[in-house]
C-alpha cells in the first residue's frame, strides 16, 4: 500500500479506505457545508462549553442523580452467562429459547473476544410464537439442532421474549421429547434466564445450577434422583471469566502439582481455543457428561467466583458437600488463600514448586514496587473480577480510587469495603455498585486517577478523559489473545503485574518522547 490518504482523493483507480477517505479535502469541505447549511449547529464555543461542563462536579452530581437511564452499561444479559456455562460440557450445544437476534449477539460477543467460532442456536421465535407460545419452536428447534449439530447434550436457556410470555421450559422440553424431537434419554438440562433480572453472571449461576439439578435430581423426573456417596474428589466451578482459556490451563497445572482428585465443572477452555489443524471442532474438550453426575459425590466444591454462583453453591452445600467461595484470585494473598483451601480440603501439602513460584512473584513485585507504589487506579469489572484486581492493587501498593461494577450489589459493595479496610492503600477508595460507565466518566473527570482498568468499552473513557487504559476482563474486542494468558495463580499474577507495568512505562515514554522537547527523560533504562 503506497496510498497517502492525506493527499490523494477517491476515484475508481484509487479507492481509499475509511482510515483516509473522509480526511480528503472534498469531504472535509462537504461536511463543513452540510453542517453550515442543513444542521443549524450550535456555535462551536457553546459545544465546547458544554463539553467542558460535563467534566465538572456540578455535572457529576446531576449524572449520579440519574434514576431511569443507564448509559454505557458494563454488564451483559443472563443468556450470555448461561451459554458460557453450557459450552463447558462435553459436546454440549447451547440452545436459547426465544428470538434468534439475541443469540446472534451472544455468538458474536464470544467470537470477537475469543477469536473462535461460537456454536449456539435459538428456537427463533417470531410474532406468532409470541402470541401462541413457543412450544412449536421448542419442538422443531430441538429436533433440528439435534439432527444438524449432533450434540451429546442440549442446554436450554431463555431470552426475555420467552420469559415474558411465560413459556415453561420443563413442560416444553418434555413435550418435545414426547414428540420425538430428541431421544427419550437424551440430556436436555435447562434454566430460565430472563435478561431483565441480574446480568450474565446470574445467567451463569442459573445454568450451572440447572445442569447440576438436572443430573443430580433425576433428569427432570425421568429417572430416580442420584444418591450421594461421598468420595475424596474436589469440584471446582470457575465462573464467568474472560481469561478462561489461560486460567483453566493454569488451574489444571496447579492442581496437578498439588496432586489429588479434582473435577472442573464446566471447562470451556478447549472449545474456545481449538487448534488450526484442518479439523473444525464444533465441540471440543469440556467436562464429561458422566462426570456431572459424579460431581455430586465429591467431598467439596470450590467456586472461584462466588458472585457467579450465589444459587449454585448453596444448592451443592444442601447436597452435603463442603463449599468454598473465592473471588477471582489474583496476586499473592488471593492465590495463597486458594492453595490453602485446596490443601486443607485435599489434605495434601502445597508443594515446593508452587512455593517457589510464589517467591518469584513476590520478587517481581518487589523489583518493580517503586513504579506502582501510590499510583491511583479506577477499576470496573464483574464483581468477583473487580475484587480480584482490587486485592492485587492493594498488594502492589497502588491506590484504587474508584471501584465500580454495574452488576455489583450491596453484598458486593460490602465485600469490597472489607477488602479496602484491610489496607492503608484502600483508604481513599469509593465503591460504586450498580453504576455505569457514564458515571465512571464523571468520576474520572472530577477525581482523576493515573490508570483505568476495564474492558474494551473503557477505550471511550480513555479517549474522553485521557486516563490510560489497562485492558482487563470481558469483553476485550480490540486487542487480541489476552484471554490466552492466565491471571490466576502466581504465574497469572505475574502476567497482570507485567500488563500494569507495561502501561506505566508506556506512559512514561509517551510523556517524554517529543524530540527536543521532553525527550531528555526518554530513557532506555526504566
Amino acid at each position: 500500500m503506497e496510498t497517502n490518504g492525506e493527499t490523494k482523493s477517491q476515484n475508481a483507480e484509487h479507492v481509499l479506505d475509511h482510515f483516509h477517505l473522509f480526511r480528503q479535502p472534498q469531504y472535509l469541505e462537504m461536511f463543513e457545508r452540510k453542517k453550515r447549511e442543513f444542521e443549524d449547529p450550535a456555535c462551536a464555543d457553546e459545544v465546547e462549553q458544554i463539553r467542558e461542563w460535563t467534566k465538572t462536579k456540578e455535572y457529576r452530581d446531576k449524572n449520579f442523580a440519574r434514576e431511569a437511564i443507564t448509559i454505557n452499561p458494563a454488564k451483559a444479559c443472563q443468556p450470555l452467562g448461561a451459554i458460557f456455562a453450557a459450552v463447558g460440557f462435553e459436546g454440549t450445544l447451547p440452545f436459547v429459547h426465544g428470538s434468534q437476534g439475541c443469540v446472534a449477539y451472544f455468538r458474536s460477543h464470544f467470537s470477537r473476544h475469543f477469536k473462535e467460532p461460537s456454536g449456539c442456536v435459538s428456537s427463533s421465535m417470531t410474532e406468532d410464537a409470541a402470541v401462541f407460545g413457543g412450544l412449536n419452536n421448542m419442538i422443531d428447534g430441538l429436533a433440528n439442532s439435534y439432527a444438524l449439530y449432533k450434540p451429546k447434550m442440549i442446554a436450554v436457556s431463555t431470552t426475555c421474549m420467552a420469559e415474558v410470555i411465560g413459556d415453561d421450559l420443563n413442560s416444553f422440553i418434555k413435550n418435545a421429547r414426547d414428540k420425538g424431537s430428541v431421544p427419550q434419554d437424551f440430556d436436555v438440562p435447562f434454566a430460565h434466564t430472563p435478561s431483565f433480572v441480574g446480568s450474565h453472571i446470574t445467567g451463569y449461576d442459573n445454568m450451572m445450577k440447572g445442569i447440576l439439578e438436572y443430573f443430580w435430581d433425576g433428569k427432570a423426573k425421568t429417572i430416580a434422583p442420584l444418591e450421594r456417596k461421598p468420595n475424596e474428589r474436589i469440584n471446582l466451578i470457575v465462573g464467568f471469566d474472560g481469561n478462561v482459556v489461560g486460567n483453566m490451563r493454569e488451574l489444571r497445572r496447579i492442581l496437578e502439582l498439588m496432586g489429588g482428585d479434582y473435577l472442573i465443572v464446566s471447562d470451556n477452555s478447549d472449545v474456545w481455543d481449538t487448534p488450526a489443524d484442518g479439523t473444525f471442532r464444533m465441540y471440543d474438550g469440556g467436562t464429561k457428561l458422566a462426570e456431572i453426575s459424579e460431581a455430586l459425590h465429591s467431598k467439596a466444591t470450590i467456586s472461584m467466583q462466588s458472585f457467579c454462583t450465589p444459587k449454585t453453591l448453596p444448592y451443592i452445600q444442601g447436597k452435603g458437600q463442603e463449599t468454598v467461595g473465592l473471588h477471582y484470585p489474583i496476586g499473592v494473598a488471593a492465590t495463597d488463600q486458594f492453595l490453602q483451601e485446596v490443601s486443607r480440603l485435599s489434605g495434601r501439602p502445597i508443594p515446593e514448586a508452587l512455593e517457589k513460584e510464589r517467591g518469584r512473584l513476590v520478587d517481581a513485585i518487589a523489583d518493580s514496587s517503586a513504579h506502582i507504589h501510590g499510583k491511583r487506579f479506577a477499576v470496573y469489572a464483574d464483581p468477583d473480577v473487580a475484587l480480584g484486581i482490587a486485592g492485587f492493587l492493594l498488594e502492589l501498593g497502588a491506590e484504587p480510587a474508584h471501584i465500580l461494577a454495574t452488576n455489583g450489589d450491596a453484598a458486593w459493595e460490602q465485600k469490597v469495603r472489607e477488602l479496602l479496610d484491610h489496607s492503608p492503600f484502600g483508604a481513599g477508595c469509593q465503591v460504586y455498585p450498580g453504576k455505569d460507565l457514564w458515571h465512571m466518566r464523571s468520576l474520572l473527570f472530577t477525581e482523576p486517577v493515573d490508570f483505568l482498568i476495564g474492558n474494551t468499552y473503557a477505550k471511550y473513557l480513555e479517549r474522553d478523559t485521557g486516563t490510560p487504559l489497562i485492558r482487563f476482563g470481558f469483553p476485550i474486542f480490540d486487542r487480541h489473545h489476552h484471554h490466552r494468558f492466565p491471571v490466576w495463580g502466581y504465574q497469572g499474577g505475574l502476567n497482570v503485574l507485567v500488563r500494569i507495568l507495561d502501561k506505566i512505562f508506556d506512559e512514561m515514554d509517551r510523556n517524554t518522547n517529543v524530540p527536543a522537547k521532553s525527550d531528555y527523560s526518554f530513557d532506555i533504562i526504566r
Binding site: E355, R358, F425, A516
Partner: protein, 461 residues
C-alpha cells in the same frame, strides 16, 4: 602505549588527593586502586570510567574505537540528562573486526571520524581507546591529530583501554584528556565575576537542574559543568571561571587541581546532597567568589537564600518524622554520599546503622565520625554474601545503595532505594533531599515488604 602508562602514573601521583599524599613513594607507584583479584566479581574498567565521565557532554560524538563489546553493551546507559543536544545518547563505534586486528584499525578509525563529522557536524569528537586497538598498537593520538588537521575540528583522544585499571582510574584519565585537549582551547564570549565551574556533577536524573535555580538566584553563572549537561564549547572555555566547586567525588580532582595550577582558579570540595551540605556548598562558593573579587553583598544574599530554603525543606521533612522515626538505614554507597545524606536522615529520626567507606577518603571518614559519632559502623569492604547476611539479620529496615546491590537487598527481604547512577529520581539540593526522604518513605511502606518478609502462610507454625 607509553603515553597511557605515563598518564596513569601521573594520575597516581596526583598531589591534590589526600589518599595519595598519605602513601609512600612505592605505594603510590602501585596505584590508587586495589589490584583486581582474578576470579572475584569486579566493577567496571578504565574505559567504562572514562566513558561515563565524559558521556554527559551532550553535543559531541563519543566514538568508541574497539570491537563491538565496549560500546555495544554500554551506549546510552546512564541517566545523565540534557536540556539540548541528544547526540551523546547515540552509540558510535568503529566496531573493529578480525581483519582490523590483523592489519590495524587506524584507517578505519580515521574514516569513522570523517563519517561522523560528515553526518552529524559535531563541535568535537571524543575518541575512546579500548583494549584491543591498544594491544595491537593503534595510535589513536596520531589518528586524532591527523583528523583534527584534515577536518579542522577538535578530535580528542581519550586514552582509556580497559586493562589500564579500574573505573575510578578511567574517570581520572577522562579528566586528563579534557586537560590536555579541551580546556583552554577556546575563549568565552564574555566573563563575569560570578563565573564558576562545577566538577564531578553529571546531571543524573536532572540533579543539576535542582541546584541551578539556586545559583541563578544568587546571580552565579555556571560557566561549565564537568560534565553534566555540558556543551563542548563550555568546557573548552571554562578556564576563565573565578572558582570551582568539586562535588561528590575525588574522581576528577586532577582537573580541579590542575586548573588551579594552570589558571589560578581556586577550588573547594562540596556536596549537593543533604541540606546543611548544600548550604555549606553555597556558602563556600560565595566566599570563594568574593575572595576572587566579586562584590561582598553576595555573602549576605547567600545567607538569606540559605535560611529561606533550609526552612522550607525542614518544614517539608517534618511530615515524615512520625513515619520514619526509629527506622534503621544501611548506606552502601561511596565517597561523600557516605556522610552527606546522613544528617538529613537523622533529622527525620532515622538511625544509620552503617555506611560503607570503600570509596571514601580519610576526610570522608572523619566527617562520618562527626555526624554519626565515634561508634559509627563503617563498612570497608562488603561482599554480597556479607551484605546479605547483615540485611538478613534485620539489622536495618532499608538499604540505600546502587543498582548492583539492589538484588542482594531484595533477596534478603529488605526494602531498597537506589541512590546511585541509575536512579530515576533526583536527590540533589534542598528539594532533592525532601524527594529522597519521600522515596524512602514510599519504599519502607510499600506493602510488598510485608509480603516479602512473611513466609508463605502454610509454612507458619
Amino acid at each position: 602505549m607509553s603515553s597511557v602508562s605515563e598518564k596513569v602514573q601521573a594520575v597516581f601521583q596526583e598531589p591534590g588527593c589526600a589518599k595519595n599524599r598519605a602513601k609512600s613513594e612505592k605505594e603510590r607507584k602501585k596505584g590508587c586502586t586495589k589490584q583486581l583479584q582474578p576470579g572475584a566479581a569486579a566493577g567496571g574498567c578504565a574505559f567504562d570510567g572514562a566513558k561515563i565521565a565524559l558521556q554527559p557532554i551532550t553535543d559531541v560524538v563519543h566514538l568508541v574505537h574497539g570491537p563491538i563489546a565496549c560500546e555495544g553493551n554500554s551506549w546510552d546507559n546512564r541517566g545523565s540528562k540534557s536540556s539540548d543536544s541528544h547526540l551523546y545518547r547515540m552509540g558510535f563505534t568503529t566496531d573493529i573486526r578480525e581483519m582490523d586486528v590483523v592489519y590495524g584499525g587506524e584507517k578505519r578509525l580515521f574514516r569513522a571520524i570523517k563519517e561522523a563529522i560528515d553526518r552529524y557536524d559535531p563541535p568535537a569528537i571524543f575518541v575512546y581507546q579500548t583494549c584491543v586497538p591498544a594491544l595491537i598498537g593503534d595510535d589513536i593520538e596520531a589518528v586524532c591529530q591527523a583528523a583534527k588537521k584534515q577536518f579542522g575540528r577538535p578530535v580528542v583522544p581519550v586514552q582509556s583501554p580497559g586493562f589500564a585499571g579500574s573505573k575510578n582510574l578511567g574517570n581520572k584519565l577522562a579528566g586528563e584528556a579534557l586537560l590536555d585537549h579541551v580546556i583552554g582551547t577556546e575563549e568565552p564570549s564574555y566573563t563575569t565575576p560570578y563565573d564558576v565551574n562545577i566538577i564531578g556533577e553529571y546531571n543524573l536524573a536532572g540533579e543539576l537542574w535542582q541546584v541551578q535555580p539556586l545559583f541563578d538566584q544568587l546571580g552565579i553563572r555556571i560557566l561549565a559543568c564537568i560534565s553534566g549537561n555540558a556543551k563542548y564549547r563550555e568546557i573548552a572555555s571554562c578556564h576563565r571561571a573565578k572558582a570551582t566547586i568539586l562535588v561528590c567525588s575525588k574522581a576528577m580532582i586532577n582537573i580541579a587541581r590542575k586548573m588551579e595550577e594552570r589558571y589560578g582558579i581556586p577550588f573547594f570540595e562540596g556536596s549537593f546532597y543533604g541540606i546543611s551540605d548544600m548550604s555549606d556548598a553555597l556558602r563556600n562558593l560565595a566566599g570563594l567568589l568574593v575572595r576572587q573579587g566579586a562584590p561582598g553583598e553576595l555573602l549576605s544574599k547567600t545567607e538569606l537564600l540559605i535560611r529561606r530554603e533550609e526552612q522550607k525543606a525542614w518544614e517539608k521533612l517534618k511530615v515524615y518524622q512520625k513515619r520514619l522515626a526509629g527506622k534503621r538505614v544501611l548506606l552502601i554507597t561511596g565517597g561523600v554520599k557516605s556522610w552527606s545524606v546522613v544528617s538529613a536522615l537523622q533529622e527525620v529520626g532515622m538511625e544509620i546503622v552503617g555506611t560503607s567507606v570503600k570509596k571514601s577518603t580519610e576526610e570522608d571518614k572523619e566527617r562520618i565520625k562527626k555526624v554519626m559519632g565515634e561508634e559509627a559502623h563503617m563498612i570497608e569492604e562488603m561482599t554480597p554474601r556479607e551484605m546479605y547476611r547483615m540485611l538478613k539479620e534485620a539489622r536495618a529496615d532499608i538499604m540505600l545503595s546502587g543498582g548492583r546491590s539492589q538484588f542482594v537487598a531484595l533477596k534478603a527481604k529488605m526494602p531498597w532505594l537506589d541512590i546511585n547512577q541509575e536512579r530515576h529520581h533526583a536527590y540533589a539540593g534542598y528539594e532533592g533531599m525532601v524527594a529522597l526522604v519521600a522515596e524512602i518513605d514510599r519504599a519502607l511502606y510499600n506493602p510488598v515488604w510485608q509480603e516479602v518478609r512473611l513466609p508463605a502462610p502454610w509454612t507458619e507454625g
